[in-house]
Subunit: 395 residues, 2 copies
């Protein structure tokens, strides 16, 4: 048995981790834009990355160097260092070389970036900026703010996992991302620290397993980023590891941050769980659920708070999964509007459904009535603010 | 040899075809909402339909009756008769039975619908309305207006195809659809008439072949309609058929209507041709080109007239096609901004590209530098008007 306690401290909550964020001049008006995470002992590090074929330079750099142990991660916002070719990778070598020269005790330092695509990193600003880092500071809020782009708020969680014998380990994380809606500019980055003694050879598998129902259940629209990254740093300082408890804490950490990203979706006014059950299998359930999160028609109906269930049905029908109108059931929370071929959508039901849609967060349930596959994906609405943010992004 | 002449008359241009549209009370304020196409001799008819698994009742009705010859097509707007089950099909039987009783000389009449999903057809209004049809009228403009939903203008074309010996046949068509952006509510319908003596067994193949580069090059976003339909009616009255000439005219007809639909995309301010070349094969070229038409980030950048080529690159990278940053080239018409790994995007190039983006119609060219596959897809921007139309659709 084990118990999870929500605690303060973000990525600095686990023992031995330090972080801070400063303003290096990448963002205007003295906003923080450059962060580090440092561990005072060497960490195992594993990461999962975007499926985009044009992976950004920081990802290529990480993979090329086959980094497995480090004590330093540098993160900048405002520039993704993507589509910058070999020059972009050389820029990272130069910057991290400067970090090693400045701080002396770094081992295989790692870099991560988010921002506009196709522009070379402003190396000088970053190198001058990092000279002001104090690696003994625990300023998780500053770090979490520094990695934001169009995010409206920082995203952090931390848990203490207490085992039945009273011993405990911790996990902490910060993420950025202004919604599943368009990771291509507003890349999703997540950095997770832990003092649990996670076996290095399990880390990658655990990350992948937990991503499937968390970060991969929110994003995945046509615009998968060049930079998406989830990193796990484990320094083992607690000396403790209990697989079941750690997986639970990791999944919970990633789930909370994933929902925080959806809720902060660019211009979003509501967060919706699309629960698919009764699909032919798990894969088809995921396809249908994700199709709903990505449908422009569904997203604009959410924005309009219009219980237009026909758009939901049509999206499922168009998603390519096995389905049949005579076995499908659609409900807005507990209000069923279509049941196995029968339309239950009178004025009274419509008003009940509309009332649910006026909430900040709610669920839409679709039972395909075919098999046992289920999946829940999380999405948000699309309104005027989204257009404003994205039509004006660079200029 | 043959020559194509653009002519007036839409679906009534070919010999023996009649059409009109009236107001039956489905739309408010006396707007036309019910149309017919009639041929005074029996036509061969073939149609291609949506790939959505939840095909609307009119499509199921057509397929169940295996209609191959008819002289009457009834079309209503404002209600898609989709997700209405067996009852929806019975409604069509009742309505078309009333048409046969009213006009006496109908053979296997056909119905097509567009509008909101999940609401039973207002049968009485439609039956009362159709009693006012005069099957000897040639009022193609009225018919084309009656089938509109969120379209801002009617869409018609007609051609006379003159062979080198002076003989000629005609093809005419009308379509509706407010853009590739969301066929789920604004279904794409197209009705094509011809007096060419097209062999019945070629009609379906020709429709499919021509759709691949026309209607299927514009639509295909997550919201494929339950009702999408392209119908070809051929009465053979000209007694003439020349395959090459007919295919050319059919492709041209469908291409012009497809572009008209994109240009009239809901809230669209510009029409963009995404030309992919150098893909591994034709299929991958189509995947990449269509991904660009469906990317929210690309669409909002078009709206913002921002030559943010990084979003274009990222979308191609995320589309799953074979590609490499070191072989990719991206150009806004003749302004190359990224060439085989090299960023050519200085202030001067940016201003040149931005100038092109301020045009109503332009092309974006991406050479993947991998193979010989090419495809051009047509898209439009996404702006505030789109959100307005779709957030307010039903209410």
């Amino acid at each position: 048995m084990f118990t999870l306690f929500s605690i303060e401290g973000g990525v600095c909550a686990p023992q031995g981790f330090f972080a801070d964020g400063i303003a290096s001049g990448l963002k205007p008006e003295g906003q923080k834009d450059l962060a580090f995470i440092h561990s005072d002992t060497l960490c195992d590090i594993r990461a999962i990355f975007t499926s985009n074929r044009f992976r950004a330079a920081p990802i290529l750099h990480f993979q090329r160097n086959a980094v497995e142990r480090t004590n330093f991660v540098l993160i900048n916002a405002k520039n993704a260092n993507a589509m910058t070719g070999e020059a972009g990778i050389e820029d990272i070598d130069l910057i991290l070389g400067h970090a090693e020269a400045t701080f002396g005790n770094l081992v295989d330092p790692v870099m991560s970036s988010t921002g506009v695509i196709g522009v070379r990193l402003p190396k000088e600003k970053i190198m001058r900026g990092m000279e002001r880092f104090d690696l003994t500071r625990k300023a998780p809020d500053a770090a979490a703010r520094a990695i934001m782009t169009t995010d409206s708020r920082d995203k952090q969680v931390a848990f203490e996992v207490r085992l039945e014998n009273g011993e405990s380990f911790r996990i902490g994380a910060m993420a950025k991302g202004a919604g599943m809606i368009n990771p291509a500019m507003a890349t999703m980055l997540c950095f997770i620290t832990t003092d649990a003694a996670v076996p290095a050879d399990e880390m990658h598998t655990l990350l992948q397993a937990c991503a499937a129902t968390t970060f991969n259940a929110i994003s995945v629209d046509g615009d998968t980023s060049t930079n998406d990254t989830v990193m796990l740093l484990s320094n083992g300082k607690s000396g403790l590891y209990r697989r079941e408890a750690f997986v639970h804490a990791l999944e919970r950490t990633m789930h909370e941050l994933a929902l925080a990203i959806v809720a902060d979706g660019e211009g979003a006014t509501k967060c919706v769980a699309f629960e698919i059950t009764g699909a032919a299998n798990h894969e088809e359930a995921a396809v249908a659920a994700k199709a709903l999160t990505n449908s422009l028609l569904v997203k604009t109906a959410l924005y309009g708070e219009d219980p237009n269930w026909g758009r939901i049905a049509s999206t499922i029908g168009a998603s390519g999964v096995t389905c049949d109108p005579s076995t499908l059931t659609i409900a807005f929370e507990n209000v069923t509007v279509y049941e196995k071929g029968e339309i239950l959508f009178d004025a009274e039901q419509e008003e009940k459904a509309a009332k649910i849609m006026r909430k900040k967060a709610f669920s839409i349930h679709c039972d395909l009535g075919i098999g046992d596959g289920s999946f829940t994906a999380y999405g948000c609405d699309l309104g005027h603010e989204y257009v404003k943010i994205n039509a004006d992004y660079r200029t």
